[in-house]
């Protein structure tokens, strides 16, 4: 039996249709038309203790819905979830004692209290004994560099400071599992860096299992050792980050802006390079890193030509998701 197991989980929502016109509004008071939206559909995965899992996918893919079911906020329409032997949505309160949750878009702080007082409140909420509380607080204050603002009221903190305080709160009671829903959203590079290091450190020190959703590929690369990707409610990738990166590197784009005097019409004799798009003096070339390396591509497309600018576009997570999803659909059809 694995530590966290998700078996055939589906979650459906009813979406009511809004109709135009007064008569239709009156009619819809009595009988509303609705369709069923499957936020997640028949997903399965299991996670071992101490894993650092990145859970990614485009907006509306079902990431938050999954996290909410794992943390006990939402009840699945069908299927079964167990987290360390507990069913989170049935033993919600008990489960809450063993988990930490951070929603990047929301704050658990009380706007009119100093951060320190908020910590003390959460100490009582999670029945943390004083020595453990003191030890954790020192450890987190140090790691998250909270010393400067720990006595300030929450309303005066910056977004990055608030996020650090929120993460510290979620970990105050040494939860065995932490769910982080977009913990680096809207933060600057330094704050992101600080949080990433912190998560790794906590995982190393306390063997905390971390499940993290994000849109930032760097978060995943630097923190996680496993990636689960979801799109349209279904899991489309589950495996090691290194394997995923191999796939991701499949599609690179080189953008070249040629000088004006150059006769830009030429024939691509190398079939490993494809012309994706052209716009005036700019050309977009697509190639696979596994077939041809970037240096070769550059030397080929710039040979005997005047070049003003070269831009290398790494594949973005959304692009990879799209590509993978398309590939998956093809599989289903064939």
């Amino acid at each position: 039996m694995s530590y966290i197991s998700v078996e055939n989980i589906s979650k459906e929502f009813k979406i009511y249709h809004r109709e135009k016109g007064f008569a239709n509004i009156v009619k819809s008071m009595f009988a509303r038309k609705y369709s069923i939206k499957k936020a997640v559909e028949n997903i399965n995965f299991s996670i071992d203790k101490g894993e650092l899992v990145g859970y990614v996918g485009p907006n509306g893919a079902g990431k938050s819905t999954t996290i909410k079911m794992l943390s006990g906020i939402l009840i699945p329409t069908s299927g079964k979830i167990t987290v360390d032997g507990r069913i989170p949505y049935e033993n919600r309160q008990e489960n809450a004692m063993h988990i930490g949750v951070v929603f990047g878009q929301r704050s658990q702080l009380f706007w009119d209290l100093p951060v320190e007082d908020t910590f003390d409140l959460y100490r009582k909420m999670y029945l943390v004994d004083k020595t453990k509380f003191k030890r954790n607080l020192e450890f987190y204050t140090d790691l998250l560099e909270m010393k400067d603002f720990i006595k300030m009221p929450v309303r005066q903190l910056s977004l990055g400071q608030k996020m650090r305080a929120n993460i510290a709160i979620a970990l105050l009671h040494d939860p065995e599992i932490v769910y982080l829903d977009e913990p680096t959203i809207g933060l600057d590079v330094l704050a992101k860096e600080n949080i990433r290091k912190f998560i790794q450190e906590v995982n190393k020190e306390k063997k905390t299992t971390v499940i993290l959703t994000t849109h930032d590929m760097d978060d995943i690369e630097q923190i996680c050792n496993r990636l689960i990707m979801i799109d349209k409610g279904q899991i489309i990738y589950d495996g090691k980050i290194s394997d995923f990166k191999k796939r991701a590197e499949g599609e690179n784009v080189l953008i070249v802006e040629y000088g004006d005097t150059d006769p830009v019409d030429f024939i691509l004799t190398d079939t490993r390079i494809k012309l994706l798009q052209e716009e005036g003096k700019r050309k977009w070339f697509k190639y696979c890193k596994t077939e041809i390396n970037t240096a070769e591509v550059i030397s080929f497309v710039t040979k005997d030509r005047q070049v003003q600018d070269i831009l290398l576009k790494e594949p973005e997570i959304e692009d990879i998701v799209k590509k993978m999803y398309r590939a998956q659909q093809v599989e289903v059809v064939s």
């Binding site: 943390s71 009840i75 309160q93 809450a96 878009q105 929301r106 009119d112 007082d117 009582k124």
Partner: protein, 266 residues
């Protein structure tokens, strides 16, 4: 009750907030005080014009209103903000956070959203109550004095239960204004002795939305009246019992509502 100290902490925090934002607290209290004072004066002027309403004179009607106001102050402190915030908290997803705490969500919300702002309301209610007793020349027996507290608490539970009922639709349809307005409007019926209204309305506020137990029935005990219409005179003692029953039902239904909580995308 291992969390008692935590819940008390919330009340302490709110109290600290008052010290920090003193002027805001005083302004709220004064505005509530003046608001209800105006209400009392309106009733007083109106009844002076009519002299009596059914078998009730001006001070007796003001007594009804003061009982209702005292109960409202208690209920409001704990549950008013649940009614007004819940639908917003569900809309913007703040309620998610409530459900990730190892606490009873109802007790947590009632503590977290507790308001000391009804201090002014309670004060005016008690001032008017004492003034009425003096003007009506009623000698308060020991038993009467002892019974006032469970009556106000029972009335608080009934009023609080109604506020909780009003918040419950938010779990299903997100918007709860309609039910809230309906329940608050029905309360206005009991500003006056219910015997001046039709039997249908009397039954509504006694057996269905039992606001009459907040003031109309217990007031008869304090004022030595006998105006029970179609109802049994024993009703004058039932306020605490009805309060506990109604509050329990409201609480159970509220907790049931949570299982229908759908959260929002983020």
């Amino acid at each position: 009750m291992r969390y008692l100290s935590l819940y008390l902490e919330f009340y302490k925090i709110k109290l600290k907030g008052i010290v920090e934002y003193r002027s805001s607290f005083f302004l709220t209290s004064i505005s509530k005080f003046v608001n209800y004072l105006a209400h009392f004066i309106t009733i007083w002027i109106m009844i002076n014009a009519f002299e009596t309403m059914g078998s009730w004179n001006a001070y007796e009607i003001m007594m009804l209103f003061s009982l209702q106001t005292a109960s409202y102050a208690i209920a409001g402190s704990f549950t008013y903000h649940i009614t007004t915030y819940l639908s917003n908290w569900i809309k913007d997803g703040t309620f998610d956070e409530v459900l990730t705490k190892p606490l009873n969500p109802f007790l947590y919300l009632a503590s977290r959203l507790f308001s000391w702002g009804y201090f002014g309301t309670m004060t005016i209610a008690l001032v008017v109550m004492i003034y009425c007793f003096v003007k009506l020349n009623i000698t308060l027996s020991f038993i009467k004095v002892l019974f006032i507290i469970p009556v106000i608490i029972g009335g608080g539970l009934i009023t609080g239960a109604m506020m909780i009922f009003a918040s419950i639709p938010a779990f299903w349809i997100v918007e709860n204004n309609f039910v809230a307005n309906l329940i608050f409007t029905v309360k206005d019926i009991t500003d006056y002795p219910i015997t001046i209204f039709s039997k249908g309305l009397q039954i509504l506020v006694t057996l269905i939305i039992p606001y009459a137990f907040v003031n109309f029935f217990p007031a008869q005990f304090f004022l030595d009246k006998n105006d029970f219409s179609i109802f049994h005179p024993a009703f004058q003692f039932l306020t605490p019992v009805i309060g506990v029953i109604m509050f329990y039902l409201a609480y159970k239904l509220w907790m049931f509502g949570i299982s229908h909580y759908k959260s929002t995308g983020s």
